[in-house]
Subunit: 237 residues, 2 copies
DNA sequence: GTCTATATACGGATAGAC
DNA sequence: GTCTATCCGTATATAGAC
């Protein structure tokens, strides 16, 4: 799969996040008409990601947000009760939708190597399609309250488990070498995250997301099959 | 090499950074006695890293810093002229010292595989010894001014070049396969950074820095030698 | 449902005592 | 060389008009 084939999901996702933001905060949001509320939430969502990714969420003022979104101070506070709640609302709702999309997208391959490749591409392409959100979530998670921060860590572990499970199955099937699936999964995740964290570097080098995907898949397979040729009999433990 | 063998460098480094901070800002720092100035700079340095890593540099107030360092507001402003300058001073001085230590530490191996392993361990162990600084530098670099941000990017690229050069030499010597050394170096760096960015994860799993080093070295070598067995004649391009 | 105007507090920075 | 006290700008949040 290439990114071009994947990318129609992007706009859908943003709309979904904002709809779910409304659903999850129906009582505290003043606007009653659904269409208006979702439209304004999208303005707020986009402006928040844009400003926070440029200067940081703390440094972004609600006045900035007002200017960038086109909504007045008063109108903004009809959608959240504090700046802190805005952060929590964007991050937790976004994370839920992303998690669901990842789970839906990671299905159906048979062969371990193909399955691992598909999972890597799904993660990478989703992070590319929603890059502003992924960057935001990574950088601002530390400003969440203790409880929300815990949930963010859990979701990091959950996505990692997808890779670990594939690797473990592959190992048991004899397709992969005797690697520690948790460590391998962690390293794969680190490589995937670098793509949306260091955008400037890859843009400068003209590395496309498809090429990056190829490289990560190649690295992951090398990691999981290193030394396997030496004992082609299959299972190693 | 293990981390235990490496780790005596840690305290030295912090002292060096503070000495160089003083040297680089001699005229703007009010304190004239060197010993006093360095001692206070160390208090400021430690308190800044601790507070900023907990809640972010923007969210840390100068009053917080005063409490944590034991110096009064007035005394703090005898060491920097603005909070922004404090950030720039800590980051740029720290980066310079780190860069020098890295260059000094990455020398002397002959064989490509051994050289790559040594470079990875040096980077990883230094980031472990100075973890608070590395985390701080990664997370707060985006709050620098345009010019300083550019210098930070350059130093990221410079450290990456160390790996790329080793890989290229190894490839030309026939020890490594036909990999893109820039991509491989970028992926290795991403794995190294994950160690100080996701401390909680590896602490929770009881992964030691020595074990992590082994895994990254293993992954890097797998990446650089994948497919080599298939054409053992050596050079591939 | 959205706006303007404002209350209130807090942070950066400095003046001047000791 | 260090501290206390204070100035001043600006940020969050809200009240109330339209």
């Amino acid at each position: 799969m290439t990114f071009a084939q994947f990318s129609r999901q992007a706009q859908i996702s943003r709309g979904e996040i904002c709809q779910q933001m409304l659903a999850g905060h129906r009582e505290s949001i003043k606007a009653k008409k659904e269409a208006t509320a979702v439209k304004n939430l999208e303005l707020i969502f986009d402006a928040t990601l844009s400003l926070a990714n440029e200067k940081g969420f703390q440094a972004m003022t609600v006045r900035d947000l007002s200017r960038a979104s086109g909504l007045s101070m008063g109108a903004l506070y009809d959608y959240f009760t504090s700046k802190e709640e805005l952060l929590e609302m964007v991050l937790s709702t976004g994370r839920q939708v992303i998690m669901r999309l990842l789970e839906e997208g990671t299905r159906g391959q048979e062969e371990p190597a193909a399955e691992l490749g598909a999972a890597i591409r799904t993660h990478l392409f989703l992070s590319e399609a929603m890059q502003p959100f992924f960057f935001f979530a990574y950088m601002e998670a530390r400003h969440l309250g203790q409880e929300q921060k815990e949930r963010a860590k859990q979701s990091e572990l959950a996505t990692e488990r997808v890779f670990a499970d594939i690797i473990e199955r592959g190992r048991k099937a004899g397709a992969f070498a005797a690697v520690d699936q948790h460590m391998a999964a962690a390293l794969i995740k680190a490589m995937l995250q670098d793509w949306y964290l260091k955008r400037w570097k890859y843009a400068q080098r003209r590395v496309s997301v498809d090429r990056y995907a190829d490289q990560v898949v190649r690295a992951a397979l090398a990691m999981c099959t290193a030394g396997l040729e030496a004992s082609p009999s299959g299972k190693m433990n």
